[in-house]
């Protein structure tokens, strides 16, 4: 990594009218060991005093070759690995992968399994957004929301632990349905959680939404309009904050999402504050979906008929779902053997991170951390 700093890299990033090493410019390394880059992201900042003239992201510090690992594992064996990409939304990752392989195998999860999947994925969306809110607020300097959101997220993790035995990297779903039947009191637990967390979201808002410091720090910061989002391929809450009503749960419903009644919250300006509002609203919508889903889980089997040894026909599929951070897509190619020929993941964080430079150019150093926070990246997913 140190080589890139000496190989004329900075000259390339400098604009034509700015000569590098002009007296006022300061090159600052933010990361990989930095408290607010949300992992091992390295952002090289060119600064004029406090003003950002340009950024360059260096990624790959957490590269584990997940896509390559997939080529040496059977379809079933690869399932736990996808949890480790976006580890704060492991359940969503698992859902995407299972849906992709199910499409490849031409099977479909039974309705009961689909409902359980919806409940758990929406709980996961809550958990992911809560973690985002806590860390984002911490980036902006409010330390307390982090502890409140973690406390409330803990209830979700407890439900996961009771349901599938793990809290973070859950490995909750299997190809063709779910392995685990709901435990006794699952519905009760989820309903209690919904009741418990609804006022807590109001509390987060009391701490932040109207707070003048928070509003000043987020309004008009890191603006990314809907058109820019589409140009960059940015998805998820960032896109919706730009005013584009696009949610894969509505646009191409999967896993029985068309059965539920919910809204797609959108913003207007596409700034950090709008993204905050959109995600808060999404938490409330998630609670709505959970409420509908958990009280109408149909009876029936939880596992479709899946061959013991999976040998999908030669072919390829692309399946994408609306993960908490945006469109999470799996492109799986089968050569007819038990192992995938190629698995390519379209991680939302990786694509969203591209927009960083556009969002922070001309802003201040403090805005960089606010924007990194608001993009809600997980480096495990960016680097895979």
């Amino acid at each position: 990594m140190t080589d890139s700093t000496k190989s004329g890299f900075y000259q390339e990033t400098a604009g034509p009218d700015q000569t590098f090493l002009d007296a006022n410019e300061l090159v600052l390394n933010m990361g990989p060991q930095h408290p607010s880059t949300h992992g091992v992201l390295r952002v090289i900042l060119r600064l004029d005093g406090e003003k950002v003239l340009g950024t360059e992201c260096v990624i790959g510090y957490l590269h584990r070759g997940v896509e390559k690992i997939a080529e040496n594992r059977t379809y079933t064996m690869f399932n736990p690995y996808v949890d480790r990409m976006d580890y704060v939304a492991a359940v969503s990752n698992g859902l995407g992968y299972c849906l992709a392989v199910e499409k490849l195998l031409n099977i479909e999860a039974p309705p009961r399994a689909a409902y359980i999947r919806v409940v758990l994925t929406e709980l996961n969306r809550m958990a992911s957004h809560q973690l985002w809110l806590g860390t984002h607020a911490l980036d902006i300097g409010a330390m307390t929301p982090l502890f409140y959101t973690f406390r409330d997220r803990e209830e979700i993790l407890k439900i996961y632990e009771k349901y599938c035995g793990a809290r973070l990297t859950t490995h909750a779903f299997r190809i063709g349905g779910t392995l685990y039947e709901t435990y006794d009191g699952f519905e009760q637990d989820v309903n209690n959680f919904v009741k418990f967390v609804t006022p807590k979201i109001g509390e987060y808002e009391e701490l932040l939404t109207t707070n003048r410091i928070w509003v000043e720090r987020t309004k008009g910061v890191g603006v990314l309009s809907g058109k820019d989002c589409i140009d960059f391929g940015v998805t998820g809450p960032v896109l919706r904050a730009g005013g584009v009503k696009w949610d894969l749960r509505k646009a191409q419903p999967y896993s029985m999402y068309d059965k539920f009644d919910f809204e797609i919250p959108t913003g207007e300006n596409g700034d950090t504050f709008d993204r905050y509002i959109v995600r808060i609203a999404e938490m409330r919508q998630s609670l709505r979906i959970i409420d509908q889903a958990v009280n109408s889980i149909p009876a029936g089997p939880i596992m479709a008929k899946v061959p013991k040894v999976m040998k999908p026909a030669v072919g390829e599929v692309y399946v994408s779902i609306e993960a908490p951070k945006g469109e999470l897509g799996y492109f799986v190619v089968s050569d007819g053997s038990t192992q995938p020929y190629r698995v390519r993941v379209r991680p939302p964080s990786f694509v969203n991170l591209q927009a960083l430079d556009k969002m922070v150019r001309g802003a201040l150093v403090a805005d960089v951390v606010a924007v990194i926070g608001t993009l809600d990246i997980v480096l495990g997913e960016v680097d895979r």
Partner: protein, 118 residues
């Protein structure tokens, strides 16, 4: 009264003995294993790109100059504040004239954008 000021020097003497003494005591008990990587300036785990003692943006110097102007203004206000009753209406008007001159300057720098940062 001059003797009121003597304790300042007493105090400086106490601190000048106590703090370095603490540092010395620390030197006796703490380990010392310097190593190249340890002694490198912190740059988020990357080798530093260049020296940190370059020139820096000029805005900070503007703030410094403004500070000098306005802090001197405040200092001039102190004697007036102490003798405020004695000077009466005359002193107040004089002070208003003094402040008016400064406020004109303040409005000018505001309009000029010296207080903006981006």
């Amino acid at each position: 009264m001059p003797q009121n000021y003597v304790p300042i020097f007493l105090f400086v003497a106490v601190v000048a003995i106590a703090i370095p003494a603490t540092l010395m005591i620390g030197k006796l008990v703490r380990p010392n294993n310097p190593e190249k990587a340890k002694l490198m300036p912190y740059e988020c785990g990357i080798d530093p790109v260049d020296n940190a003692r370059g020139r820096y943006t000029v805005r900070f110097y503007i703030v410094a100059i403004l500070f000098v102007v306005f802090d001197v203004e405040t200092i001039f206000l102190f004697p007036w504040a102490v003798q405020y009753r004695a000077l009466g209406l005359f002193g107040l008007v004089e002070m208003l004239v003094f402040l008016a001159i400064l406020i004109v300057g303040y409005v000018w720098i505001w309009k000029k954008g010296a207080l903006e940062w981006v």
